[in-house]
Symmetry: C3
Subunit: 162 residues, 3 copies
Amino acid sequence: MTNTEKLAAIELIKQLKARYLRFIDTKDYEGLATVFTKDAVMDLRRAMEKARWAKTVTTKAKEAASDSGGWLFKGPAAIVKFVRGSTHGAVTVHRGLMPEIDVMSATTARGIWAQEDFIQWSDGPRLRSLHGFGHYHETYKRVAGLWLIKSTVMTRLRVDIA
Amino acid sequence: MTNTEKLAAIELIKQLKARYLRFIDTKDYEGLATVFTKDAVMDLRRAMEKARWAKTVTTKAKEAASDSGGWLFKGPAAIVKFVRGSTHGAVTVHRGLMPEIDVMSATTARGIWAQEDFIQWSDGPRLRSLHGFGHYHETYKRVAGLWLIKSTVMTRLRVDIA
Amino acid sequence: MTNTEKLAAIELIKQLKARYLRFIDTKDYEGLATVFTKDAVMDLRRAMEKARWAKTVTTKAKEAASDSGGWLFKGPAAIVKFVRGSTHGAVTVHRGLMPEIDVMSATTARGIWAQEDFIQWSDGPRLRSLHGFGHYHETYKRVAGLWLIKSTVMTRLRVDIA
């Protein structure tokens, strides 16, 4: 790849990530399903393993997590179902910042992002809001000319709940 | 346009937006007037229409909004007047994040940004601080070689006031 | 330099900055030492001069600052010692956002970034947390093909302590 092709790929991946998080926060679930490869994986296990509050996120999130065997979601449909369930009745703000994207070939790339999410539920029984900080560790694949998210793993620096 | 020309335009627009928000937060109003086209529009109507607190922002902001016919500001002078009035005596922090910029031609572009602002007034009668989250929907125009903001429309996900 | 070379330099400097702040927040001090030139300077004097709380940050930060003659740290070892000391026992979240990077030559560049840091100590005697907003004003140098931080000066818009 030329330098320009690499820079163009990096910019496209930044826009992919921006679109992904915008679709979550604007509750555009049709859009959300389009940002992933068919075999995409969302892995929240490391983010959740130390979180005593993780099981109280909401009943719907619990159900979604349970369906998938616990904080590991495989395929666009399962990912969208989890996002939709865990943020139902909530206003959410998601941030992916300061990307370190490494284009490995014309069709593969990986990246690390600073991560922040701020979720406020109006219908939760116990947990009212969550404000978390951490990192996304991701891989990307270019399919039919389009960069897509192949895997996203979340780690946490801190989570404040109220 | 070549790929490199598009990437260069995207980078220039990112820096334009960064300068714009830095000028607001550092109260550099001479600088602020230079980032807009002569026919630029700032449209806060969608952001404000559901906001019961909107009319209490500050007296000066009310006057500025009223002068312009309510949260739609036309031209650099009206925009700067509104920004200056509504943030007088306030410390402000504005963020434009995760840009999705689409360069449509050598002189036209549009973009969506995740938006956040945090404003704390020391002289407000009722409203002390505002912390908002949403998106900017913008268009840009290249005039005499320089990218400028042609329109900026704000939408909100949430606003916390205290 | 060609446009592509400038764009590539800007992207490398963005990733340098991202790595720098990620190393602070993940407490990777070996990594942290690698992002600076040998004569690098971290200057917090303007950020600290008006801060009545500055001397209470933590005992270790006070010691580190005192060693360096007060909020001016010279060389990677002194910078890492200060960062390590002032964030010991703390969870930290650092942000560098909205970069305005100016590549001046093949080996020199400068940049302004919106800045935010959120630090929560578990072992502080008085100060429990700090949430600051401002700007980084930086210079960069390319050494043996690698962009490094040559100087970083912090200014503040506001600091909230609790």
